[in-house]
């Protein structure tokens, strides 16, 4: 881990963070998979109560960056992360940080809906249970209900909480996964192409949900769909070949990008 040696730079960073109210900040983040370098010195912040979309062609490093934010890269053998990543100004790769606690604060929703092959109730209750968030059954019931409400799934499943989560439709499964992530009261939610396995109607439902969730959470979403990025996000970051090309307000990115590569990508010239 490259600790920031330059005190001045650190000070500047903190200052900037305070100005724009950053939740998470990545400074010079690089990722290596064994010999291969997947990410090159990325500097990117995640703002409070904002949806940040990460776009770019396949293999550009956007998912890799996303997985750095809750240290899911730890699970890949030979993966190495350098640079500084902070959550509320605290280094998340610090040896003192319990990765389990970090992941409770930075939740994640995956590309393919991956409910546990257990009941709907158990799917949502699992997180609160291992983190000891509920002191009684009633409290747990409450968390489950609230989370399913937030994920907009409650009315559809309230009569069949004991049925298997894998029996739901694809879109419902993905919302169940969102409810599961919400249930541990995270501060940031990471979404890795959450709609790529869903049909348009289910996608619309999830996008609506992302919109609602912004009120309480910071959201980072990786997407292949330019339209989706434009629809759901306020900030957009464009990745290419492991580099951050540019990061700006979504409106500006899609109307007047400053980098030629962004323009080419948005126009569909590559990717």
């Amino acid at each position: 881990m490259n600790m920031l040696s330059d005190a001045a730079a650190e000070k500047a960073l903190v200052k900037k963070m305070n100005e724009v109210n950053y939740k998470m900040v990545g400074k010079d983040v690089s990722v290596y998979y064994g010999e291969k370098r997947a990410l090159f010195d990325v500097n990117l912040g995640v703002r409070n109560n904002t949806v940040t979309a990460l776009i770019g062609p396949s293999g550009c490093g956007k998912s890799t960056f996303l997985r750095c934010l809750n240290r899911m890269n730890d699970t890949i053998q030979g993966a190495k992360v350098t640079g500084l990543l902070t959550l509320d100004s605290k280094d998340i790769y610090d040896p003192d940080i319990d990765v389990v606690e970090l992941r409770a604060r930075v939740g994640m929703v995956f590309q393919k809906p991956n409910p546990f092959p257990k009941s709907i109730y158990e799917n949502v209750a699992y997180g609160p249970r291992i983190h000891g968030l509920a002191r009684s059954k009633a409290e747990l019931d409450q968390i489950v209900e609230a989370s399913l409400q937030k994920a907009g799934l409650w009315s559809e499943v309230k009569d069949r909480l004991q049925e298997s989560g894998t029996g739901l439709s694809g879109g419902q499964q993905q919302r169940l996964c969102i409810a599961r992530a919400v249930a541990v009261s995270p501060e940031v939610i990471l979404m890795d192409e959450p709609c790529s396995a869903l049909d348009p109607i289910a996608t619309a439902r999830v996008e609506e949900l992302i919109h609602e969730l912004r009120a309480n959470y910071s959201i980072v979403i990786v997407t292949h769909s330019m339209q989706q990025a434009a629809r759901v996000s306020q900030r957009t970051a464009m990745f290419h070949l492991g580099n951050l090309v540019e990061e700006d307000d979504t409106d500006k990115m899609f109307t007047n990008p400053s980098d030629q590569r962004t323009q080419d990508y948005i126009m569909g010239r590559f990717g």
Binding site: N70, M72, T75, Q77, V99, V100, E101, L102, R103, A104, R105, G107, M108, V109, F110, K112, N114, P115, F116, P117, Y126, G127, I130, H131, C177, R180, A181, A183, V184
Partner: protein, 443 residues
Amino acid sequence: MTDMTAATPAKSPSASEARTRRRNASERRFRLMGLIAVAIGVLALVGLLVSIFANGASTFRQTYITLDIYLDPARLDKSGARDIEEISKVSTFGYAPLIEDSLAAAMAERGLTGIDADDAADLISGEEPAMLRRYVLNDPSQIGETVEFNLLASGRIDGYYKGRVTMASAELDRNVSPEQLMLADELKEAGILTTRFNWDFFTNPDASDTRPEAAGLGVAILGSLYMMLIVLVLSLPIGVAASIYLEEFAPRNRLTDLIEVNIANLAAVPSIVFGILGLAVFINFVGLPQSAPVVGGLVLTLMTLPTIIIATRAALKAVPPSIRDAALGVGASKMQAIFHHVVPLAMPGILTGTIIGLAQALGETAPLLLIGMVAFVREYPAGPPEGFFDPASALPVQVYNWTQRGDPAFFERASGAIIVLLVFLLFMNLIAIILRRRFERRW
């Protein structure tokens, strides 16, 4: 095919047709060879099973002679005090005349003569006086009563009704005479001698060389059961723990490689080598008793571990990584993700592998021979856990044991024991198949 060769212009049509015919003939020959190979495999199985069943099925029926025996106080308890100490002084030999007298009485009643009482008594197994003595010692109040007993007929008489002994062979046999066989036929007509299902085969202990009719599998079944218990209790947790480590945690390094190579090789080490290991380490070095289920269980555990580890790792691998990600994503630790989600999902596969491993262990013979389980054991081992240290036999070893005896009646017993063993194995495999079917999951 014809199209292709016809399209070759260089050759004359007849030559290419002949070539095609040859090629098609060779195709048919190859196909026939394949079919023959399959037939050999299937016929071998059928032949094996038919031969075993043909030889062993008769074990499950046994010839009995039903007699009313007067438990004569004058012979069994001269003092009349019903003192157990006194009664137990009467040896097995003291009981033989009771049976002899009772048979003579039954014969006289039905007017069967022409054979002296001594020879007639030889129709009844030499094991029965001892049985009678146990009966009396167990319940001395029966002395003076007349009790009906189903007595085992001797092995030769039993063999007569199973086709093993004939009048002609009896002529040459020192142990049985044609007169005795004729008497047996007469007793059968009189309803005294009957053939019935042989429960004793499952409960009796082994018997001596000259009394095949009394030999049973009781001690062997119990010994096998004890060993399977030990194997299950040890190999399942150890195997699952090792698999979890290797599949989920182990970094790629020299130690991991070493362990992997070891497991692959242990799976292919001849079973008898494990027997030598058991003899040298568990018996000579640690000083555990010979013939004890605990040693057999330990040896079989070491043999079964590779099977269970290989099956468990396959089952763990089959659980999709997305489940692990899902758990880690909500902040579960790696250990929690594995124990809460991955292991329960892999459980059917793990259990299937375990049952198959147990089935292998149940049929394993060679290593048990070396740790002394061939010994002639007549005493039932005590209940667990002390019983794990008592001498016992095991099903496959009992089969081997019986093949080493002189009397051909023991071959029948050995085949019968194999049938019992196969039924156990069938049962275990059925459970494995049901588990696999019932819980099979397609991701």
